[in-house]
Symmetry: C2
Subunit: 192 residues, 2 copies
């Protein structure tokens, strides 16, 4: 298992048919996931296309994550947790200033993803909304209000995705206070 | 008032401080809205940043629509309807094939927006999720399931947005069956 240290990120190639297992090593930790077409990085993960085709905002085993070009990118093939978020964008210097004005500014998942994806010629403005693994964002169906709650994932819980095309993946151990119940832990991953 | 014919789209510049009034001329018709920075079209409307900063998926008067760079793009200053969607992507040839396999394929709002925005050097891959004015997409807070229901807007109902920066706007009269209660009507707009 490869370990992503707290408040950091990485990138790698995931080939069609390979499975990516994301591991919450200690429990209660979010991991922001991005995907881009390896052949053409202008093809990227799209929350809106995914909500459209899957007809739900709650994505778990059996659901597929779609690209902006309406192609399947990743199938969710196993899920110990069942609560993930695809509504919110990666935390960034701007979100730290907005939500945590009294705390030191961190470049967040957005900065970590941008740095990790630079070697694949993917720029900051190309980063779409991430699929936020283990992130717990309940939505009130009546009012539309959302909140960011501590993840319910336990130590060792995993989410497994299978690539439907050759992909560049960006993956983090999330840096935002509210998303991770106030503490920052590592994330593990395996390519199977 | 400028009229957008059924199943078509247009683009125009909206200067900082100007207000855009979107008019549902006949009632029950959706209008997909996109916004890009006029100075740098790589800055674009972002559903995820908006959900983050507004802490809701239900956007109405008093809410702001944000860009991928965490800048305010449009304030919603008046809203006769109160039901709009920011979850789903514009209908396209692919969504027609998926949702309406027995009906003729239409380029949809996605194709109409891409064609209208070409003169501003905005390409298909640059189109983010649209703010879908008057679109009625209830979400079940327990299951996450969403559905596309007929708009509740009546003839003459309006939504008014105020520009917080100089913008390129893309605007349509939506082309999808389910979104518009099965019939296609025009959309009007005024720049105030």
């Amino acid at each position: 298992m490869t370990r992503i240290e707290p408040r950091s990120g990485t990138s790698f190639v995931l080939r069609e048919g390979q499975r990516l297992e994301v591991v919450d090593i200690e429990g209660g930790q979010v991991s922001d996931l991005l995907a881009f077409g390896l052949a053409d990085r202008r093809e990227a993960l799209s929350n809106g296309r995914t909500f459209d085709y899957e007809e739900t905002i709650s994505l778990t085993a059996g659901n597929t994550l779609w690209s902006n070009r309406s192609n399947p990118m990743l199938d969710i093939v196993a899920d110990d947790v069942g609560l993930h978020d695809f509504l919110l964008t990666p935390c960034s210097k701007d979100t730290f200033r907005h939500f945590y004005p009294d705390k030191p500014v961190h470049r967040g998942c957005f900065g970590n993803l941008a740095a990790a994806l630079e070697e694949y010629d993917i720029a900051e403005d190309d980063l779409p909304c991430a699929f936020n693994v283990f992130m717990n964002v309940p939505v009130d169906g009546q009012t539309g209000r959302l909140s960011v709650e501590p993840p319910v994932s336990k130590a060792g819980d995993t989410l497994t995705l299978k690539a439907r095309m050759d992909l560049v993946i960006g993956l983090t151990a999330c840096s935002a206070f509210a998303s991770n119940g106030g503490t920052f832990k590592p994330i593990g991953y395996r390519i199977l």
